[in-house]
């Protein structure tokens, strides 16, 4: 969690820094507007704009020891999991062709749809929309690439002499050509080139993939079988599977805790040794967060949940592939009590013998073994599959959907809030009408509606329908977020520094980005975590109804659904455990949101209702 945070802050700061160099005249405005959303990572980049303070790099060079020590520690922390990290990179990288192909399919779908519905005119409109989307991509890329920093480094005289606007124009042109080339590349057989490049990349990394990973099921295996004379074969040190599994889980959580701790320590090192100012408002915010007890509970729950999602494959006593998706393609060995010999059986058949169906003799409860020497921390599902494996895999899918949709709706909300606050008038009115209409249909109904309408399209096949769900949730969720930041956005648009920037001749996009956005983002942070909780709830609710994530991909709502006939029987665990977990996690995310709000804005008491929070009523 912390890593991502820092990375995000870094990227944002780089843009700030790059832009800050060009017009020193506006820097006062920046720092003022920055107060809410600044630093975390490297305000150093920011300070490069002001002449007096040494840059972050210079400060590093002046006192390298604490940073070096910290970096050494970081390397030590990463090392045990390097193999898994590289593996993740490779898996993500090998998805690129699939993503490209999907994007192409999407383009064709849009073309067919618009041609079929409106004829050439529709196609023209669609093309225009595409062009707009491309322009947005180009602009985002332009903001992400620190051209000016690069120029300053490699061609200082050009950077000094260049007019800001000319430079921007050049950047746009270059990027537009690059994007156009990429699109062309995708349309020609040259897509194969991408495949080839990725192949090279994968094979170059393959030696690293072989590195042992400390926290894997291979190093600490928990799957084995009993021996006729007592004891276990195949498990870690011959321990009973329950202990081997518990050891692995404990180590994983310990490792995750160390990662978080070291990340926080890194921030402390930065703050103590490398930050220019000895105090910033962020310090107070963090201090308030530390002592917020309700918030601490929230952070703990979120930490447990995120770790569960990140380490999902290693946490389960077995794997999704083996136990849930293709149980008949795998087999296990077990000690047959009757014959006293070691026999082999497919996982599918073993599952069939380990069902939890509410009767005392057909039930595998939490923390028990089934007849095949397999340990089930949360018991089994009615079809005999392992509930814990199901839960951790479900946690991962929930988190991915949550991050995707919350991120997308936050992005839309920010853009809309900035544009409407800056331009006001008709644009504001139009967005109010659109937002009110979207909020006018009860959320769950609109979710059901859209999942059904878009259920047959290619979108619904990606990630078991997860991407479609994330898109729908983002498309219907942004008005709620926008409503929460609309007030602050309108407020900041009235500030004097906006007028000042305008009279300096700054472009609207730049004013919004540099002088308004930082103020809004602080508020958005508060609601982001609440939205996450709400999304997890909504996905579970839809899946409970049989509309969300398609079977057999694990999702918590389905577990509740599968177990609803067995709540008052020995198989109570099937519905009860996922339900309690959902409640806990939603509470955790709400608590984090409350804590962040209290820390950022102590004035705002908990009395105001935002409508964003995760709440049972939505699902």
């Amino acid at each position: 969690m912390t890593d991502e945070d820092t990375a995000g802050a870094n990227a944002a700061d780089e843009c700030e820094g790059t832009a800050g160099v060009s017009t020193p005249g506006e820097d006062e405005g920046t720092t003022g507007a920055n107060a809410a959303g600044e630093d975390e990572g490297a305000t150093g980049a920011n300070a490069a704009g002001a002449d007096e303070d040494p840059s972050f790099r210079e400060r590093l060079a002046a006192a390298p020891r604490p940073a070096a020590l910290w970096a050494l520690g970081a390397v030590l922390v990463v090392l045990p999991e390097l193999g898994a990290l590289v593996e993740t990179l490779v898996v993500l990288g090998s998805q690129v062709p699939a993503v490209l192909a999907t994007a192409l399919a999407g383009a064709e779908w849009v073309r067919d749809l618009s041609l079929g519905a409106f004829g050439p005119a529709g196609w023209a409109v669609a093309l225009a929309l595409w062009a707009f989307a491309l322009a947005v991509v180009v602009e985002v890329l332009r903001l992400a690439v620190p051209t000016r920093a690069l120029l300053r480094r490699f061609a200082p005289d050009v950077a000094e002499g260049a007019e800001h606007r000319t430079l921007v124009r050049y950047e746009r042109a270059v990027l537009a050509v690059a994007v156009a080339a990429a699109v062309l590349l995708a349309y020609t057989p040259a897509l194969g080139l991408v495949d080839g490049a990725i192949g090279v990349f994968v094979s170059a990394l393959s030696p690293l993939r072989e590195l042992p990973t400390l926290l894997s099921r291979e190093v600490i295996p928990n799957q084995g079988h009993r021996l006729p004379g007592g004891g276990w074969e195949g498990t870690f040190l011959g321990l009973p599977p329950a202990f081997a599994w518990a050891l692995r889980v404990a180590l994983i959580y310990l490792y995750a805790a160390v990662c978080v701790w070291w990340g926080l320590r890194g921030y402390r090192v930065y703050r103590r040794h490398y930050r220019v100012s000895s105090w910033t408002p962020t310090d107070d915010t963090l201090g308030a967060l530390r002592v917020h007890r309700w918030g601490n509970f929230g952070f703990l729950v979120v930490f447990l949940f995120v770790t569960m999602a990140v380490f999902a494959p290693a946490l389960g006593p077995t794997t999704v592939q083996e136990n849930i998706e293709r149980p008949y393609s795998y087999s296990i060995q077990y000690l047959n009590e009757e014959t006293g010999g070691i026999e082999e059986i497919t996982v599918g058949r073993a599952n069939g013998e380990s069902r939890s169906r509410g009767l005392p003799d057909t039930n595998v409860g939490p923390l028990t073994y089934d007849d095949f020497g397999r340990f089930h921390p949360f018991g089994t599902l009615p079809n005999g599959k392992d509930l814990f494996t199901f839960i951790v895999a479900g946690a991962r899918i929930s988190l991915v959907i949550g991050l995707l949709s919350a991120g997308a709706s936050a992005a839309i909300a920010v853009v809309v809030a900035l544009a409407t606050a800056y331009y006001k008038g008709v644009l504001d009115l139009a967005m109010v009408v659109i937002g009110d209409t979207i909020m006018g249909v009860p959320r769950l109904l609109i979710l059901v509606l859209l999942t059904v309408l878009l259920g047959d399209t290619w979108l619904s096949e990606i990630y078991s329908g997860g991407v479609l769900l994330a898109l729908i949730l983002a498309g219907t969720g942004w008005p709620y977020l926008w409503r929460t930041v609309r007030g602050p956005a309108l407020q900041v648009a009235e500030e004097e520094w906006i007028d000042a920037a305008r009279s300096f001749g700054a472009a609207p996009a730049r004013i919004m980005r540099k002088h308004m956005a930082p103020y809004i983002v602080g508020y958005l942070l508060v609601y982001f975590s609440m939205v996450l909780g709400g999304v997890i709830l909504a996905v579970a609710g839809l899946t409970f109804l049989g509309l969300g994530i398609t079977a057999p991909t694990p999702e918590w709502g389905r577990a509740v659904n599968l177990g609803q006939d067995y709540v008052a029987s020995p198989s109570w665990h099937i519905s009860l455990i996922p339900g309690i977990l959902i409640t806990l996690i939603v509470m955790g995310f709400n608590a984090v949101g409350d804590a962040v709000r209290d820390a950022i804005d102590p004035e705002a008491e908990g009395g105001t209702e935002s409508g964003v929070e995760g709440r049972g009523g939505g699902a």
């Binding site: 006018g440 309408l453 008052a568 339900g579 409640t583 709440r615």
Partner: protein, 338 residues
């Protein structure tokens, strides 16, 4: 802008919302990736299937030119000619379906709003009057848990509890009037006390689940509101003048604490409309939410579009009622530059 000017503006603003909403349902019928006619007919590979398909397309107006279809569609919607169901209950007009299914949902929503008001607000007031005591902590944290619990899960748990538990031979089903735990309430002849009790008892579990999140919110907001007013200067002055504590609480604290609760209650009522879907499906109540779910699952797009429009209509109306209440209660409305 005056108060009524503010209300007038809100009234005016609800018109485009309705139009945009109706247009969205039109887009749904005309351009949805799922062909409504194909979804209705099912198999279009046989000769008869193809004929039926063409006929349905004709009936839905899909063969008309775009603009003409749009105009007829919108006029129909706004004159409340909501079409008919094609799959769920073929041939039944939507209005007729609403007449059959609607009262059950209204009955459910009525109790789901009422229970939280009569439980949540007193509990919240009590917690606010005794802040930071063990009872306060217990009540507040119960409210937080109650709020975060997913409806579908709570429904499943409550359903089982009611159908399995029994105290001294008395189960939920046999308590008072004989009822089942799931199923629709019988709303005929409510003036008969026996029937009325049965109908209330039948809807109660579902209403408790549906109102659960509202109850949590109302506990929380009532607590904060009391805490805020009880420290206000006018309360202190009243006490100093020797106004009896009973009167201080009743007249100065509670009444003022109710103001922030009004929007909460109306907002909660709004959430209930959506939440009724899951609760009705789990408790097997044939209400509008259940109808919507059936229409969605069976691909009855025309019915789905009409129902969506009805929901938008209800919500817009409820928002207007809320604004109206605001204007009546709070003299500041329209003057603060929101």
């Amino acid at each position: 802008m005056s108060r009524w000017g503010y209300f007038g503006r809100r009234l005016l603003l609800s018109v485009p919302v309705l139009v945009v909403g109706a247009t969205l349902t039109f887009l749904m019928i005309r351009f949805s990736p799922t062909d409504p006619a194909a979804a209705i007919v099912g198999n279009t590979n046989t000769e008869a299937g193809r004929e039926a398909y063409m006929a349905v397309r004709q009936d839905l107006g899909l063969t008309q030119p775009l603009l003409q279809h749009y105009v007829t569609y919108m006029t129909d919607l706004f004159t409340l000619q909501l079409g008919q169901s094609w799959v769920v209950s073929r041939g039944t007009p939507t209005v007729e379906l609403l007449r059959i299914y609607g009262p059950r949902t209204l009955w459910l929503a009525f109790w789901a709003v009422l229970i939280p008001i009569f439980v949540g607000i007193p509990v919240g007031f009590y917690a606010g009057l005794n802040p930071n005591t063990p009872v306060d902590y217990l009540l507040s944290s119960t409210g937080i848990v109650w709020r975060a619990m997913p409806n579908f899960w709570l429904a499943v748990i409550l359903l089982t509890a009611l159908s399995q538990l029994e105290f001294a031979g008395v189960t939920w089903g046999s308590l008072g009037v004989e009822t089942t735990v799931t199923g629709s309430p019988d709303l005929s002849n409510l003036l008969n006390p026996q029937n009325l009790f049965g109908a209330v008892k039948q809807i109660l579990p579902a209403a408790v689940v549906l109102g659960s999140a509202s109850m949590g919110s109302e506990i929380r907001i009532a607590r904060t509101a009391v805490l805020e007013t009880i420290n206000a200067n006018y309360v202190e002055v009243a006490r100093a003048r020797g106004v009896p504590e009973r009167l201080v609480l009743g007249k100065h604290v509670f009444r003022n604490a109710l103001v922030p609760l009004v929007p909460t209650i109306t907002n909660e009522a709004f959430v209930l409309v959506g939440g009724s879907l899951i609760v009705e499906v789990v408790f097997n109540i044939n209400g509008v939410g259940y109808l919507f779910y059936q229409a969605a699952v069976n691909g009855d797009l025309p019915l789905l579009a009409a129902l969506t429009f009805v929901f938008i209509l209800i919500v817009v109306f409820m928002n207007l009622v809320q604004d109206f209440l605001y204007v009546l209660i709070d003299p500041r409305v329209g003057y603060d530059n929101q």
